[in-house]
């Protein structure tokens, strides 16, 4: 690992951007984990297991991709998990009441997006630090969801709707297609639109961004709304996959999504990172958990391992990133 450090400290090389180098190392790490698991476990390389890993990773990725944009602006959205729960419960109710999955999907996305927009308003208009605004929102959403569900469970959805989360197309799970689509959209948005560029600029230095003529408040609103909408999307896939909705389904989602963003190389200080990196981050996280299952390591060890990987990834980033100040 010392070679990595040394290389990044060298004067700038012109072919690869810092981002590309970081993603490259992460891909290597993911491949290394795959190689180790392939040696240690016979069942790792089976098609069923690989598809399972991808499907699992996709669920984390949906939430984490929107979150990546927020973190790129040096913000944080702690309400994503609670948002998934509320959106899933509301979408589920709409489907039950109207019998229309399309209407349910739209409601779920709208609910998620609206929550995100509210987060954005708190951060921009009220100037509440995003960490605190979304932390408060987490409690508010939890409260709403518990009150709304009143201990009930929604289950039993139309077969067509259930295909979204558990169906296959040409041998691949449908969430994997969705993963590729949103990976493409997210990467395109961040790298190839001027809005994406402005988001990086805001994260790198919000004061300079504003004084450079970027409408910082409007871009932040957009970013939080996107993060909320992606949580809404995740809620639909959860609902469809689990075929049920309860008030507490969001509780274990936020922290893994943040872990995927951090393992993926996006800096909590903003301005640095990629959506593709977050995808690899989600993949690494899922691979490690999958490997531990295959090797019959007790599930009690999983949080500890996740924590160590996050710390290690961030530490290596800090060591390899050039010091510019």
């Amino acid at each position: 690992m010392t070679d990595i450090t040394k290389d990044a400290m060298m004067p700038p090389r012109s072919f690869l951007s810092q981002d590309a180098i970081q993603v490259f190392y992460r891909l290597l790490a993911a491949l290394l984990i795959c190689a180790v698991l392939a040696v240690l476990s016979d069942s790792f390389l089976s098609l069923g297991n690989i598809l399972n890993v991808l499907r699992q990773a996709s669920l984390t990725f949906f939430i984490a991709s929107g979150l990546t944009l927020v973190v790129l602006t040096a913000g944080l959205d702690l309400s994503v998990g609670a948002n998934v729960a509320l959106s899933a419960c509301i979408a589920g109710t709409v489907i039950h009441k109207t019998g229309s999955p399309a209407l349910g999907i739209l409601t779920g996305l709208a609910c998620g997006g609206l929550v995100g927009l509210l987060n954005g308003i708190m951060v921009t208009a009220l100037r509440i630090p995003s960490f605190i605004a979304t932390y408060g929102m987490l409690w508010v959403l939890n409260g709403l969801t518990y009150w709304y569900m009143a201990g009930e469970t929604l289950h039993g959805f139309p077969a067509g709707f259930r295909q979204i989360g558990s169906g296959y197309l040409f041998g691949l799970p449908i969430p994997v297609y969705l993963l590729l689509v949103f990976l493409g959209i997210g990467t395109f948005f961040a790298q190839r639109t001027i809005w994406g560029q402005e988001i990086y600029a805001i994260g790198a230095n919000p004061v300079a961004a504003r004084l450079s003529g970027i409408p910082v408040a409007r871009r932040l609103l957009l970013v939080y709304a996107v993060s909320g909408t992606m949580a809404g999307l995740a809620s639909i896939i959860f609902l469809s996959r689990l075929n049920s909705a309860e008030a507490d389904i969001g509780e274990s989602l936020t922290l893994p999504a943040i872990a995927a963003v951090l393992i993926g190389g996006t800096s909590l200080f903003g301005g640095v990172g990629t959506v593709f990196g977050t995808f690899i981050g989600a993949l690494i996280l899922t691979l490690v958990l999958n490997g531990m299952n295959l090797l019959s390591v007790s599930a009690n060890w999983q949080p500890l391992v996740t924590g160590i990987i996050v710390i290690l990834a961030v530490w290596l980033d800090m060591k390899t990133r050039r010091r510019t100040q």
């Binding site: 639109t193 001027i194 600029a201 790198a204 230095n205 004061v207 300079a208 004084l211 510019t324």
Partner: protein, 507 residues
Amino acid sequence: MSDALPIEVTSPTPLLELRGISKEFPGVKALDDVSFAVYPGEVHMLLGENGAGKSSLMKVLCGAYRADAGEFYYNGAKVTISSTADAQKLGIAVIFQEFSLVPYLDIAQNIFLGREPKGRIPGTIDRRRILADARRVLDTIGFDIDPSTTVDKLGVAQQQMVEIAKAISQNARILVMDEPTAALSDRETELLFALIARLKADGVSIVYISHRMAEVFALGDRITVLRDGRRIDGVRPADVTPDQLVRMMVGRNVDMTYPRHFADKPGEVLLEVKGLSASTGISDINIEVRRGEIVGLCGLVGSGRSEVARAIFGADPVTSGEIIFDGKAISGEPDLAARRGIALIPESRKSEGLALLRSVSDNLVVSALKKLFPSGLFDQRSAQRTADGLIRQLRIATPNARQTVGLLSGGNQQKVVIGKWLAAGSKLFIFDEPTRGIDIGAKSEIFALIDRLVAEGAAALMISSEQIEICHVCDRAYVMREGRIAGHLTRNELTEENIVRLGMHHA
């Protein structure tokens, strides 16, 4: 002046001597075989352009950097300086440009931070003694202020005094000062010079880093010039002229007069500010800027110059008044001002002008994204082409457009800030201290650039504390005092004297 006679030694042994100091960073030789001696009770001026090695030498002196090679001698005896504690033991103290005071503690606590006299109850501070001790230290430097005042209530000059008091209380024998007058008014500068004379008389040696020629000759006993990490020469002020010093610093001849082609007749009115007031403390500001003009905005630091610039740009909320730009009223956030064609080149380019960890290219196109990519689709290669064009046009010294902007020198960073507004096609350029911390070579390049801009039909409003720059470059100037426009000076009236007279507080 390489043929200058060797310096005669006033005192047989230097207080501190550095021999053959070298310090290397990846890719840069910051210091290359530098020797340097400080004699007791002298003011030793350290001169050089940005990147010449002054800061590195200063950091080696105070133990913040460990030299790769070289030796230190204190009163003739060999010593090592490998930590700040070593330097402190030898009585070396540094007054950095950015102070290291704790804003919410009082003056006495700041002076004795970490060395507080203990009270009777363990863990407490002997309040009476710390105040008395602080009073004594403040008296020795002639600073008349209540030591129980919290530091956040002090101005820059007063904070600097506290820093000096702190150094003196640690028995500093060598005081290193990094551009101490950069943020001081003329009156405050005089007080500082008086203090320096007093410290000298007490036998304290002062290593003084400066970009101001007048100071070098007014204060210096000896001058050491650095360039590209090397010691170029050591001279006495009496033996050199300012031009000779400049030549030593830049290694080539630099035109010290600023290039400016005054137009015979100013163009149409581009900016009209009427009765502008803002909550930041400016009131009833009336300003007019025409195409083809460079209009100065002078006054003391704190007189409200930057606040006027920010209010025009929409960075601070306006409470009353009108801003008419290019014939239309304007009010709102900076993005609106920027879109209409106003550019702000802020005073602190690192914290307000640039995203330091992004590339030169990213920074150059950030204000022009909509103009360059009207479809909303960003293309890295096309952005870099635009950046390459600006790098050539502005002669920005960078290996390529992908270089991290934080790694460039001050002058080149400033060119990037200006370049981003060139890319955006701005019409009015508001410069806030455009030459602060920039070396002489880059300065005249930046003025040549501003001259070219206004000649092509743009206009500039320029804030500067360097009155001489205002006098040379501006068509006319407004002078501010306590948040208001105190007066207006035409080209013929524009002298340093007049600026000072209008900007001074009435006694």
